[in-house]
């Protein structure tokens, strides 16, 4: 249960290796936090002890989670709830950039399977659980890359566009159920996933995404942009003529 200060007791991360998710977990830490469940593809490479040491008293559990195991998602969520009680906050943080996806149809389809189909099947499983408990929040990490897709990463962008449409729609579907869906739209974020890449304008740190996410949770917003300026920027860019957009996208 969240308490009156909106401090959760149980947080679940799908894609437990994510730097952004880790920053959000740290921002959600309090003396009320008891359990963090990290669902990861590679259980062995996840540093649970390191995260636990940074938290004020919660225990961190790592378990295997595969975004493409669509059949297993409902059972996975039910098992976590059976072991740890109500899921106060679930963070959907898995995703790949798929650098070679534009040239490889099979790799592109796989990217869609992880980033989009995985988000849909796991998101619906989480929504069922939240509806049944009458409370809880799903945080879905989208990206401005999906707001208007670019030549350099349009496959990735299209998966995020799909995820964004799904999670905002799911939020409408859950309205009044006690459950809340927060779609987070960051620009470029400095993480291990983007290491070595050229920085885009408005690049932020994972901690900035975490702070904006906490604020969005507190105010029960449907969407947060990080930084918030991007909402205005993309409000214009969305309607920029194609030749202008291509010029900007270099």
């Amino acid at each position: 249960m969240n308490n009156a200060l909106q401090q959760p007791q149980t947080v679940v991360v799908l894609g437990g290796g994510s730097d952004i998710a880790r920053a959000i977990v740290l921002a959600l830490d309090s003396s009320s936090l008891r359990t963090v469940v990290l669902g990861c593809r590679n259980v062995d490479s996840t540093d649970a002890a390191g995260l636990e040491a940074e938290l004020s008293g919660a225990s961190v559990t790592v378990c295997h989670f595969d975004a493409t195991d669509h059949v297993g998602h409902a059972g996975w969520v039910a098992a976590v709830a059976a072991d740890h009680g109500d899921l106060d906050i679930v963070i959907q943080a898995f995703g790949q950039l798929g650098a070679d996806a534009a040239d490889d149809p099979v790799a592109a389809a796989k990217l869609v399977d992880v980033n989009f189909a995985g988000a849909v099947s796991s998101g619906l499983a989480v929504a069922d659980q939240l509806r049944a408990q009458g409370h809880g929040a799903l945080i879905s990490l989208s990206s401005v890359a999906g707001v208007r897709t670019r030549a350099s990463n349009f496959v990735y962008g299209s998966t995020k566009a799909g995820l964004d449409a799904f999670s905002t729609g799911l939020g409408h579907g859950l309205h009044g159920s006690g459950a809340h869906v927060l779609t987070v739209r960051p620009g470029m974020v400095r993480t291990s996933m983007t290491e070595g890449m050229n920085e885009a304008p408005f690049t932020v740190n994972a901690a900035d995404v975490a702070a904006a996410t906490i604020n969005g949770l507190r105010k029960k917003k449907p969407i947060v942009w990080v930084p918030s300026k991007l909402q205005g920027v993309f409000g214009l860019l969305r309607f920029a003529p194609d030749f202008v957009w291509r010029k900007l996208d270099t």
Partner: protein
């Protein structure tokens, strides 16, 4: 099937959605039990989440055809659990009776008063409401109905008094009434400059009055830490009125309080300036020393004249923090008062009171010592860690927190404060082995 509703407590924090079923006592057996259980909700005046049950069932008891029986000879009342103190007082005051214990609002139900084992300004002389209950009817998880009391199934009775509705549905109770001659109180008001003066005054003179409470200013920094207004009183007799307010004698037992106004949904208006201004005026309006004859409502339920006053705190809502520490932990009390003043986020009207003896309820809050209550807006940054510090100070001093107010503490803090928790859990499990009664608070604090 009931009606799916988003519910919060009086603090308007952490809403959850539940299936609300309005049934009479005879319809309780037909309630559908899902996997999330059920809890009874009265008027929703507990500040946090004890009358919420996310994803489960919330029961609202409909009154029977004859909800109130008064035995004017024996001085007792038998009342349906869903009846409010407001309704009860409108019926009994004209007959020369008052409730044995009332909290600061009359918009609570009899069932809620027993489940929270409420206390009032008279705790040092009258103890809790549960102390005056002679018997109660309860519907258990298996659908059976029992009549229990301090002499009949005492274990279950004292697990139910203060048991936050988690042992069953209280449907009716018989309790003692207090005889009164008039609808007024005789109240002595005293202005005190600081906390030490207040502690000294209360320690000295409380025993001479049935009621005693102090309003402490925790919002103003400076040399005046703990400046306060001490109010001590008794029920006024006809003789008192003849002497002090003869006009009131024309209708000495009338009771028909109205509502002044209702607060519309507004943003949080309890900002620092507003709070400090209010406290300054509140303090200055009190004469240094004065004896008056306020009405029952004016003395016991001053905030009830303003409907929905909880909306003053805006969308984020607020918490009411209440704890008790033993008398020998007066240093902890002083420490906490200083921290709260230094923190600067306490709101208007904080209350200090001395508790009398502990009653038999296993999870009843009051025990001998000092109890302090203050409101704070829930959206204040850093509030979580500040309150967590206070929580620890309270339990380290042998104190505890009031479950009817709690909205933020942890299972560890509650376990440390309620040393009889395991005994209570054992009794609860014996009457509810399948865990059918459940609330958000019970889940949050591991009470089940």
């Amino acid at each position: 099937m009931g009606d799916r509703q988003l519910l919060t407590g009086w603090g308007r924090t952490s809403a959850t959605s539940a299936n609300v079923e309005s049934v009479g006592a005879d319809g309780l057996a037909t309630i559908e039990w899902g996997s999330r259980g059920a809890i009874t909700r009265g008027l929703g005046r507990a500040y946090g989440d004890p009358a919420q049950n996310g994803g489960g069932t919330v029961i609202r008891l409909k009154p029977s055809a004859n909800p109130v029986w008064i035995d004017t000879v024996g001085g007792t009342a038998t009342v349906d659990a869903g009846v409010s103190f407001d309704e009860l007082l409108r019926r009994i005051v004209p007959h020369g009776f008052f409730v044995p214990v009332t909290p600061g609002t009359r918009f609570i139900t009899i069932g809620g008063a027993i489940a929270s084992d409420v206390h009032g300004k008279g705790h040092h002389s009258d103890l809790t409401f549960g102390h005056h209950v002679r018997s109660l009817d309860i519907v258990l998880a298996d659908g059976s109905e029992r009549t229990i009391g301090p002499d009949t199934e005492a274990d279950l009775f004292w697990a139910t008094v203060g048991g936050m509705g988690l042992t069953g549905v209280i449907t009716r109770a018989t309790f003692n009434l207090l005889r009164i001659e008039t609808n007024r109180c005789l109240v002595e008001t005293q202005r005190l400059p600081d906390l030490d003066a207040l502690i000294a005054a209360m320690s000295d003179g409380d025993a001479e009055h049935r009621y005693s409470v102090a309003w402490v200013d925790l919002a103003t920094k400076g040399a005046t830490v703990g400046r306060s207004i001490l109010e001590r009183g008794d029920h006024a007799t006809l003789e008192d009125l003849a002497e002090r307010s003869p006009k009131a004698l024309c209708n000495p037992l009338g009771f028909a309080p109205g509502s002044l106004a209702s607060v519309p949904p507004v943003p949080n208006v309890m900002n620092r300036l507003a709070v400090r201004t209010f406290n300054e005026l509140w303090f200055r309006k009190a004469p240094k020393q004065h004896i008056g004859t306020p009405t029952l409502t004016g003395f016991f339920h001053p905030l009830d004249g303003i409907g929905d006053w909880n909306r003053f705190y805006g969308a984020n809502g607020f918490l009411q923090y209440q704890f008790v520490v033993p008398f020998d932990a007066v240093d902890t009390l002083r420490d906490i008062v200083e921290r709260v003043v230094a923190n600067g986020n306490a709101s208007v009207i904080s209350v200090l009171k001395r508790f009398g003896a502990q009653s038999g309820g296993l999870l009843s809050f009051p025990k001998p010592g000092w109890t302090l209550t203050f409101d704070v807006a829930a959206g204040v940054p850093g509030l979580g860690s500040f309150l967590a510090e206070l929580d620890q100070l309270v339990v380290d001093a042998g104190g505890r927190h009031y479950l009817a107010k709690d909205a933020h503490t942890t299972p560890d803090i509650i376990r440390a404060g309620y040393t009889r928790l395991d005994d209570w859990k054992a009794i609860r499990r014996s009457v509810d082995p399948h865990g059918r009664w459940a609330s958000d608070q019970a889940r949050r604090l591991d009470l089940l």
